[in-house]
Symmetry: C2
Subunit: 222 residues, 2 copies
């Protein structure tokens, strides 16, 4: 799949899923139109991530949606995922590329222009940029230690690979992230902790689509 | 390499190396005659394990000694290690075999006969059995929650792959582990925390060799 199509991006984490199974959350998000799923689940064992990954792989493949594994290249290979997402302390992008081959999708976290440029040079297919909003507060003057949409704009200006915003993004502020140049938004609890994860996905997708449609509309000549 | 030759087995862990670099410990152990090195380093990032792994790979290859990576199949592949060592909560042995191929050395931790039999059936090349001694105390009546040499004997009777004992093993008690049927002994702090890691390795190797020589001597007829 093409990361340029990653408008809504679910990152799974059982520990913030209100006691529900990750498979249940993923199914709801797929019903709501999610574009890509990342198996995160940092707090569990490799064995459990592998077993859960096999289940999520089956569900996402049935919906023709990409599955990305956080950090572990070996688990991605073992469950036949579409790729991996690497943080700045994980295996280097170039090493993952060597192991996974040219077809795999490799994403990389970046919070600065330098990190973004290096990831692109090393062969990343997309960037996860954040934390955008340090809190989910609506107060615009905050970003409480988040990099804000301004950093999204700086990074999308500096690289040519797609950028997905992550961190504190909701249906209410997703439009600002897309307006700043992101192809999409990645969320954990906005979907996993939602009372209705399907509806939460639909709201997020609608916000992204609306912002894109506005962005695509040529300005009226006065 | 053949795991049947793993008489002395070093498991690295920078956090119990008295402030010294893991590469320094490995070099000293190689000077002392260590037979195999496992890169453990559980408390650090994947990036750091990879970088350290490249250094340790160069050192061990120069000495023609096997290098095994704990848990991470991808790091083993990335640094061209000889294999992996898997715990009961890591990726399954059969999955690692699929990823690494038939030539790789795959070890598996086992503390019961059932775990040992399953690991052998799944394709493990050797077993790490322990904790043998829950404390490093010399009091024979202790094993303080360790499985003791008796479990080594039960497991070596039940499987045909080589068994290495691990946990609380010192030059003083290594002979009992070998007498019980282990091909060798694995240690962390006995070498990593030693004032002289080279001498500690030599003492351990001498204890293992002595026990093997005694075991190989046919009993005198009365």
């Amino acid at each position: 799949m093409n990361p340029a199509t990653y408008g809504t991006y679910l990152v799974t984490q059982a520990s913030v899923s209100a006691g529900r199974e990750t498979t249940e959350i993923v199914e709801a998000a797929l019903d709501g139109g999610i574009d890509v799923v990342q198996l995160r689940e940092k707090k569990t064992t490799a064995q459990r991530r592998y077993e859960l990954g096999l289940e999520v792989r089956e569900i996402t493949a049935g919906a023709d949606v990409d599955l990305i594994v956080n950090d572990r290249v070996d688990i991605a290979q073992a469950i036949d995922a579409d790729g991996v997402h690497l943080g700045q302390s994980d295996l280097p992008v170039a090493v993952a590329r060597e192991l996974l081959g040219p077809e795999a999708v490799i994403g990389c976290s970046a919070s600065t222009v330098d990190e973004a440029r290096r990831a692109e040079a090393d062969g990343a297919d997309y960037l996860g940029v954040g934390t955008v909003y340090g809190t989910t507060s609506k107060e615009v003057d905050a970003y409480k230690d988040g990099v804000g949409p301004e950093r999204i704009a700086e990074i999308t200006d500096a690289v040519s690979i797609p950028v997905v915003g992550i961190g504190g993004i909701t249906a209410a502020n997703a439009g600002s992230v897309v307006d700043a140049g992101a192809v999409g938004v990645a969320v954990i609890s906005e979907i996993t902790a939602a009372e209705d994860p399907c509806a939460a996905t639909e709201s997020l997708a609608a916000a992204v689509e609306t912002a894109k449609a506005m962005g695509d509309t040529p300005p009226h000549d006065g």
